[in-house]
């Protein structure tokens, strides 16, 4: 079965205790995927307001759709430079 791959970075990876997770999901919104993610990694919940997300390498908002085979990234506030 095709999975959605979730990559976590920086502080979000720390809070979840993992850098990568997989979920069986297809045709769900990013917000719905977030609910699945926080069910598995509750420590992520308080970070929600600080996070951005990407679907397949491009910034995406909560109502956007995630399909099987997509790569979703959980992005804490960027701090390059």
């Amino acid at each position: 079965m095709e999975q959605v791959k979730v990559l976590l970075f920086g502080a979000a990876a720390d809070q979840a205790g993992t850098r990568e997770a997989e979920f069986t999901a297809n045709g769900v919104t990013l917000d719905e995927l977030w609910s699945m993610l926080t069910l598995k990694y509750p420590a992520l919940s308080p970070m929600r307001g600080t996070l951005a997300f990407a679907i397949n390498g491009e910034y995406a908002k909560g109502e956007e759709m995630v399909n099987a085979g997509d790569e979703v990234a959980v992005l804490p506030p960027v701090s390059g430079g």
Binding site: A11, G57, A73, L75, P77, G80
Partner: protein, 149 residues
């Protein structure tokens, strides 16, 4: 015609080569911005080094996007941005931006714009490694017992 490059690297950045690589006969100004690791002092502790990570290849593409934005706004002959990942020791460069333009105004403005945009849209993160733990900059999450504030 604009030349230049956008790169994310693991090794040290050769700042001199990047600057001279921007010299062109049709440009009379080369502006360079170098971001280096600054050591902050806490109570009895200090930052030992910084460590950077990136979401690739999105971060690479975002650097290129910044280059496109700059070419759309200013008359520039060369734009290069190089960002280092991994460990960066105090006083060492983590990011180098070089912009060449026929005149100095656009070169200064575009190099300033590039570093501000990097801090807005490029998925790169740094953590400060202190003697007593680390802190993710911007998230204030980490392992230090005495959080920096």
């Amino acid at each position: 015609m604009t030349d230049g490059s956008f790169r994310i690297v693991d090794g040290p950045i050769d700042v001199g080569a990047l600057v001279t690589g921007a010299f062109r006969p049709d440009c009379g100004a080369v502006a360079t911005f170098v971001g280096t690791t600054r050591v902050d002092e806490g109570e009895g502790t200090s930052v030992e080094y910084l460590e950077y990570e990136a979401y690739r290849p999105m971060a690479d593409r975002k650097l290129e996007e910044i280059g496109e934005e700059i070419r759309g706004r200013w008359d520039v002959g060369h734009v290069s941005i190089v960002h280092k990942l991994g460990r960066v020791d105090p006083g060492e460069p983590s990011v180098v931006i070089v912009v060449a333009s026929p005149r100095r105004g656009p070169a200064f403005e575009a190099s300033r714009y590039a570093i501000e945009r990097i801090k807005e849209i490029v998925p790169i993160w740094k953590r400060e490694i202190w003697s007593d733990g680390y802190v993710w900059v911007g998230s204030q999450v980490g392992t230090r017992s005495t959080p920096a504030e």
